[in-house]
Subunit: 341 residues, 4 copies
């Protein structure tokens, strides 16, 4: 196998195990290819609010691009802002507005479109609780569609929301539960919220990704086994995710790479050993690290200390965005009136 | 309308709003009828563990009995023990064993019967969280049926478990969600856990009711609107409930009745006013009290201070009972090995 | 004992067991005295924000007034607003502002006054968790007084905050712990937050009382045994409380009184029994009810279903008020920047 | 500075930042010194329950030993068992018994000795919540010393317990709060529980350290600034700690060291770069990694996914051990009767 072939065959696998973010997958691809242009992958960027918010739109338009990126054909919109890690309400509101607006570009919703919001993840594991927390903040209206307060009538869509739990607790694949509910609620759109795994610690809790391709298997904190997508659910799906953890082996791998590179620059002489290190196929090195981290790898992850407060805040931003996008007739400042807490 | 007719027409309504317990409905019926024998209702009692545990089996065998009791035809097994309110592990274990054993009398399970446990109620409202808490303690096995540890193989049934949430949070009738999951999991038996409302404060958190009639509408803490039963779910159902609250109006009503009766005994003279009070139809008096308690009635309830600890304990007893009944090949002391916490 | 004497001797006791609110004690006194004027008790009222907020200032100025009211000499400011039970952010902000402003009238704070905020109550019992929750939202600054961000310097007072727990969990009288901390921190002012018991369900979670007399024994949810006041602590104290429960016996008693009165009006004939009932000394009737409610009375209380969300909201209002009052150099909209969540 | 000198001067610092465990500090020392014998440090080991539990007693007897180890003179007893990570009740009970017994060797308690248990750490950050959780499971008796149930009289010591919070939330150094309470309670012994930082992931949640030297500054999850010891508290102290996290930079550093060593063995040729790497002073390398991990280092840590359940379990083991050691007259199986949950 020549080097070209080897690289290609590996791409889908090694990307998918380490990052759920298209924007990171694209960075890795650019590093390997030494070019930021790749056929079938279009990337455009925007900045908002004095550069406090960075938006990257990755559009995967061909099978070739999908294979290179390790992500299905579709759109991946990433919002990055360090303000998500802080208590900066003004920026949070702006992020929610941009998110709501971009959602309108990913999917056209009829006035009476039926929506099902699905909060993936585990209530009891803080970094995996993002989805259930968003669900608890959604303005659900489907059950009161016939008896709405006058000022809401005609201004809200019939929205429902579930937190199906995780397979380890239910014994049922998440997709089965969601499919069962979809069969009865018959939504025009499913919106799934999930906690993701990132490659860079700087992106943890500072990034929101929204895509029209669904939730992919084998990734995230809770490691759902089967994907949630239009095919498996029988309804269009928008997935919204936030990287809340970095897996320990990825952290070690990336930190080490950067440290070795920095040292090789400072001491270029006698870097045969360094050459040997960087010549290691990425996957091999990752496996080696994972073995050393044994027996805890897979169960161990890296998370900031203030994770409880941060997840609460992120859930608020995403729920606000969804409430705005799904109930366009209600002004933002009035949502609180219709919510419990 | 003569008195006979009046009484009969009222029975189903006024019972159902105030107690979920067949054993209490039967007490009320006995009071009104001034007899403990009623056609179509058989009651038998047992005592266990030095009278620490009292078991009452109410069997409703005719439509006439069902109408009188305000409960569907079927079996209602009630376990009462003050030890449930205390940290008396030995008695808790015995209660779990009796519950598991009686469950075997209500339903015959084949060796490979597929089970779905449904934890009704709201995670965020402590006295309504019993169902979800039981679910979190169930040994689920359906997803690992093909890859069981050797010592479990052949000893466990494929059990799954969900906590579907409440309509106020999901926008979906609970029965719709459960039906959706039932359609995909196709269980041979559904076991539903719910928090109930009782009439007597002494029964709060000290009583477990198990029945083969399902969960009835219009009762309980969370006030589910539609029933979960074999007809609506398409699968046989066992319902297990614990009264965790008394509604405030019921408490006032019953306490007042007892107080007035006690005073009338002490001062029998000039009790015209008392006569007037007891002549009030029960429902009328209840409505009057509910109005006075306004605006909070329905949202207010009466609960012991240590409710968090008590609900945790009760969830443990019921989960143990179910784990024993559903996985008969595992010895009680070994369950903990296969559970997370 | 003539009637006059009897009444007087009972006053302090029967009030103190049933309400922590001076405004309710005053209502009861007015009922008994059939006059709203009482020597040594001055009451003035204000309304704010379109009558959405009602403020009552009860000033007790003589020992005679104190005895009649069952409350120590001092000032009792009560804010009442149904908006506290709802998600009405605008009114909440106004309530916090009024509270901060009135606090300035109760106590003069020097620019560098050292403050200790004490959150009384039990983290694990929701209606008793108000104090600890407020503590978690206070902008504490004492430990960073020497290294403040530039924009805070000179604008904040050295504030510290503790949640000492309850005697059942610590084995130590709360006042001992607080006194121990006071001896070391040497605050110029202690602010104590506590959950209270009210007499009327309509006041639950809809009332904030602030007084300069400290926290009195024998009242509240957690039933602290010894008082926290300037004498026991060795520092001036402001107490802020919210009634979060009604005790079950009080609820029954008051509801029954109102029901019987309403029935006596409708059917004035033959009300000898009613006369007998109202002739019962209040305390006797309360004891009778408490006995009937036995064995749960004292441990049982009446609380709204959504208590978790409501306590969170109330803690936010009070913490905002304190942050404004204690750190006057910071504008309200900026507090969030310096807080974690 | 010759190599000997350099090494010695570094020892106290670089150890203290990375591990709170004497047993790990001793391993590092043994590696550097290439001998397991060190003057002033005695190490003895025991095994229990079929080698499921390993006990190491490190006794530091001279200033020289203390300096080398980076730990004060005193006794450090470490219990290691992978069973702590699992739901193995039998082993947990044995661990609690051994812990109680060894505590008796560290300190002689008179029959009526007054005890204060201090749970260090933050309720709201799971891996730091060990101390407060233990406190909530302690059988406190000081407040009921005069009114004990008959079967307890003479069998229990007056025990009190507090969870003082962390400086970031209180604005007060933990030692100040504890000292304030000690001045009032006047205990004969303080027992402090804390979450620690370990160097090896395999030790996380699988190790309990008990020492008679107190809690040292600059270590642990919450990074207390000042030490709690006999000098600062004015009372003897036993410290019990469990490593619940590894800091991210330590994890990377150690994993990298092991990986590079393993690669250097496989490819000994051209290892100049490797030589350069290992010649880096440890501290320098650690700083380099910490910078790369910036901006999250210090706030990021590595923790197992099931951390909530594990901390609960560990708190149970330690609380059982303390209840046994402090109340020797009560048989183990009876503690539950006197505890709330």
């Amino acid at each position: 196998m020549n080097k070209e072939e080897q690289k290609e065959s590996e791409i889908p696998y090694h990307f998918s195990v380490r990052t759920d973010l298209a924007v990171e997958a694209n960075e890795l691809l650019a590093d390997e290819q030494e070019t930021s242009e790749y056929d079938g992958i279009d990337v455009s960027e925007e900045e908002h609010l004095d550069k406090k918010i960075k938006l990257t739109w990755v559009k995967v338009s061909s099978e070739n691009g999908a294979k290179a990126l390790g992500k299905p054909i579709g759109n991946y919109i990433t919002l990055e802002s360090d303000a998500m890690k802080e208590n900066d309400l003004e920026t949070h509101e702006e992020i929610a507005k941009i998110l709501a607006q971009k959602m309108g570009k990913l999917v056209q919703l009829k006035k009476n479109a039926v929506i099902l919001v699905v909060g993936l993840g585990n209530w009891n594991v803080t970094p995996d609780a993002l989805g259930p927390k968003v669900v608890s903040k959604i303005l659900v209206t489907r059950h009161i569609a016939d008896s709405l307060p006058e000022d809401l009538e005609g201004n809200v869509r019939p929205v429902s929301a579930i937190a199906p739990g995780v397979m380890g607790l239910t014994g049922i694949e998440t997709v089965e539960i969601v499919r069962g509910v979809v069969d009865r609620v018959k939504p025009d759109l499913v919106v799934a919220i999930d906690a993701l795994a990132a490659r860079r610690t700087s992106r943890i809790n500072a990034t929101i990704q929204m895509s029209d391709t669904g939730v992919n298997p084998g990734s995230g904190v809770g490691n759902r086994r089967l994907g949630l997508n239009e095919e498996t659910l029988g309804a269009p799906i928008i997935a919204i995710g936030v990287p809340t953890v970095v897996d320990a082996a990825t952290l070690v791998n990336d930190t080490m790479d950067r440290m070795l590179a920095s040292m090789a620059q400072q001491a270029p002489k006698g870097t045969e050993f360094y050459q040997m290190l960087i010549n290691l196929a990425d996957e091999e090195k990752y496996q080696l690290i994972a073995e050393i981290l044994n027996p805890y790898t897979g169960n161990m992850f890296v998370t900031p200390k203030e994770v409880d407060a941060v997840i609460e805040r992120l859930a608020g931003i995403i729920a606000n965005a969804l409430n705005m996008a799904l109930h366009p007739g209600i002004r933002a400042e009035n949502f609180n009136r219709y919510l419990d807490a």
